[in-house]
């Protein structure tokens, strides 16, 4: 846990890349957000929850999401834009039969699909289907359980 904000608490996922184990990882890239530290990516993936159990900054916790949430999220983010792009490309190829027109149609279809994904993701988020849930406290860093 990295921050308390009223009744909300903010978490950062623990993640290190393979190159993060390198002896030079601290000086790799630019400052604290070097490639080895992946800090820049982790900051982007911060998320908040209601403080479920009086957690304090620095504590490690285990959170989880609904079993089907990951598949629903992946279908929304990736499958929907791809299907609209391929449909648009197929129609353009059938009508015009020209590579450049098909390419343009697929790009347009892709952006329409992304717009649809945005709407679908909002609906999923409004129903709370993408929200992580607090499961339990984890052992402090460096302690084997």
């Amino acid at each position: 846990m990295v921050r308390v904000d009223g009744d909300r608490v903010w978490f950062e996922p623990e993640q290190t890349t393979s190159c993060g184990h390198c002896a030079s990882s601290a000086v790799c890239g630019t400052g604290a957000n070097g490639i080895g530290s992946v800090a820049s990516r982790i900051e982007l993936r911060r998320f908040s929850l209601d403080n479920p159990a009086g957690l304090r900054v620095g504590e490690r916790v285990v959170v989880g999401v609904d079993d089907r949430a990951l598949i629903k999220a992946a279908l929304t983010a990736y499958a929907l834009p791809l299907l609209t792009a391929l449909t648009a490309g197929g129609l353009a190829q059938g009508v015009a039969g020209d590579d450049l027109v098909t390419l343009a149609a697929m790009v347009v279809g892709l952006f329409f699909g992304l717009a649809g994904a945005r709407i679908a993701a909002r609906r999923l988020a409004a129903r709370g289907e993408l929200a992580p849930r607090f499961l339990r406290r984890a052992a402090p860093s460096g302690v084997m359980t």
Binding site: P13, Q15, T17, R41, L44, R45, F47, V65, D67, R68, A69, L70, I71, A73, A74, L75, T76, A77, Y78, A79, P81, L82, A85, L86, G89, G90, Q93, D99, L100, T102, L103, M106, V107, L110, L114, A117, R118, A121, R122, L124, A125, L130, A131, P132
Partner: protein, 193 residues
């Protein structure tokens, strides 16, 4: 239409990216411990392979072929793939921060997935039209996702099975992978039968 359908079946099943071409083996062994993570990785890879193949086709035809820069193909394609992954990451973050928090972990892994570059290079060898190359890339990545999900299902069952200590963990996973590859060899009969 029939040609496209046969090409897609061939790309997905007969010449499967993982089991016949042996590409993307890192993610095949690394992200297949659970079905939902395998499906997430498979769909993310499908998106990136398809989008990057569209960009690679355009770069190949309008830049590399047009100016005789074919010797820069591999480097250029790596750049295009990295850009496609960055584009996907930025887009998902803009489209839905919730989706990005859930799926963002897979995207950096795809940059170094050799299946993405492998499919792009296969497209050049095939000398296909734009729609043909896009459908080939899409079918190849569907085959990749299919094998990832099947293997994840098998590994979930393996986790509950009584396995001799000698074979526990990765060894039995490799044995199961070899059996799966042999099962997929059955699809090669489609081309001769």
């Amino acid at each position: 239409m029939k040609d496209f359908a046969l090409m897609m079946i061939g790309a997905a099943l007969v010449n499967n990216v993982i089991l016949a071409r042996f590409l993307g083996l890192c993610s095949f062994m690394g992200v297949t411990t659970r079905i939902d993570t395998a499906a997430g990785m498979g769909l993310a890879t499908t998106f990136v392979i398809t989008v990057s193949s569209m960009a690679d086709w355009a770069v190949q035809h309008y830049l590399l072929d047009a100016y005789g820069l074919g010797y820069l193909r591999t480097v250029t394609f790596i750049l295009v793939i990295a850009s496609a992954v960055q584009f996907t990451e930025l887009t998902i973050r803009k489209v839905s921060p919730s989706l990005f928090q859930m799926l963002g972990i897979y995207l950096p892994l795809i940059t170094t997935n050799c299946a993405v570059l492998g499919v792009a290079l296969l497209l050049v060898e095939g000398h296909m039209s734009f729609i043909g190359s896009t459908l080939f890339a899409f079918a190849s990545s569907l085959g990749y996702s299919l094998v990832m999900i099947i293997f994840a299902g098998l590994r979930e069952r393996l986790a509950l099975a009584q396995v001799p200590r000698l074979f526990a963990g990765p060894p039995i996973a490799f044995i199961v992978a070899s059996l799966l590859a042999m099962a997929f060899m059955g699809f090669s009969g489609i081309s001769t039968g």
